[in-house]
């Protein structure tokens, strides 16, 4: 017998899923990030064209999403480190809330500073 989503429907499993998916998405983005930086080697004009392209609203929105993913992956990782390396104190749910809060706050801060 195999489990379905009903068995997985608890906060820590959703945290795992967010951590895994954000990690995958970030690693997919990374080559593009390096490619974009690499444009600087082709001269200032090339890079400027690219930077102007990123000014579009849709790209901006994607950037906020990226920040949230990055913050979620970071805070999720810190949560795991705290769970595994610090003395256990029944704080699984509070750690999770902190991690989620941190990720959203980072996204919000970035969106507002735009």
């Amino acid at each position: 017998m195999k489990n379905d989503l009903r068995a997985r429907n608890h906060p820590s499993w959703w945290a795992f899923l967010v951590h895994r998916l954000s990690g995958l998405a970030l690693s997919l983005f990374l080559p593009f990030h390096f490619w974009a930086l690499g444009q600087a080697f082709q001269g200032e004009a090339r890079l400027d064209t690219l930077l102007r392209w990123t000014e579009q609203p849709l790209v901006k929105f994607a950037e906020v999403l990226l920040i949230v993913l990055l913050a979620a992956h970071l805070s999720g990782g810190l949560r795991l480190l705290a769970l595994e390396f610090l003395p256990w104190r029944g704080w699984q749910k509070s750690l999770l809330a902190w991690a989620a809060g941190l990720a959203l706050a980072a996204g919000l801060a970035f969106a507002l500073a735009l």
Binding site: M1, N3, W13, E84, W88, Q92
Partner: protein, 237 residues
């Protein structure tokens, strides 16, 4: 009379759900429901229980998709309207109907060196273990396991990696690692390290979420990870 619609897994791996109508009572456990079906509707239904009071660990099943001890799970807590679905535990081979084959589960306890290895003989004096020591507190947190397999059935890593020792066996190993009378610490740490042992755990916390005895195997496994790392640094492994 208020009737429950109970859908029960029948047959072995290639079986199917069959629905039974069971009268609904106040303070009815899921095990009561299964027992009613077997005694009053279909005597060929196989299931397992012994104590009926949450001590033996024999009655675990998957109830509406979640692994639970059925003798202490109230129908009122899990029924969706009047419907309940009852299946055998996941992650284990199926014998028949609601009976999962627990052999692999318990063999893994042995593989995790779940046996106490005495370091003294009967001629020695009794060991004095300070009740308030850190090690004793760690034992205390994990020792009430009844071997029900709920954690094992709930763990994704068990589904992904057939060799993974699983939360219950690792929790058992952790209680022994903290038993100052035990004489097999290094071998046990070696047995639980690596890809089939504590390092495979993804800290999903499903085991800790579902354990009916409120044990947190994740905590024990994190302890093992640290103990293994320390022992490796000291060159004891």
């Amino acid at each position: 009379m208020n009737m429950l619609q109970v859908s029960v897994w029948r047959g072995a791996a290639a079986g199917e759900y069959r629905t039974y109508e069971v009268p609904r009572y106040e303070s009815q456990s899921v095990l009561d429901v299964v027992t009613y079906i077997q005694r009053s509707i279909d005597p060929t239904l196989s299931y397992r229980f012994a104590c009926r009071v949450g001590m033996c660990g024999a009655c675990a099943m998957t109830v509406n998709g979640v692994a639970r001890w059925t003798c202490r799970t109230h129908v009122a807590k899990v029924a969706e309207g009047n419907a309940i679905q009852i299946a055998p535990l996941a992650n284990l081979p199926l014998v028949k109907d609601l009976v999962a084959d627990m052999r692999e589960f318990f063999d893994k306890w042995a593989r995790a060196r779940g046996q106490f290895v005495p370091s003294a003989t009967r001629k020695d004096a009794f060991a004095r273990v300070a009740a308030d020591s850190r090690a004793r507190a760690a034992v205390e947190a994990g020792i009430e396991c009844i071997g029900c397999g709920v954690c094992y059935a709930s763990c994704d890593v068990v589904s992904w990696n057939a060799d993974y020792l699983g939360p219950a066996a690792l929790n058992r190993a952790w209680t022994l690692v903290n038993d100052e009378r035990d004489g097999a610490r290094a071998e046990r740490l070696r047995a639980v390290a690596g890809d089939a042992g504590c390092h495979a755990c993804h800290t999903h916390l499903a085991c800790s979420e579902r354990c009916p005895k409120k044990i947190e195997p994740t905590r024990s496994i994190a302890g093992l990870k640290r103990a293994v790392a320390m022992a490796a640094l000291r060159g004891e492994l």
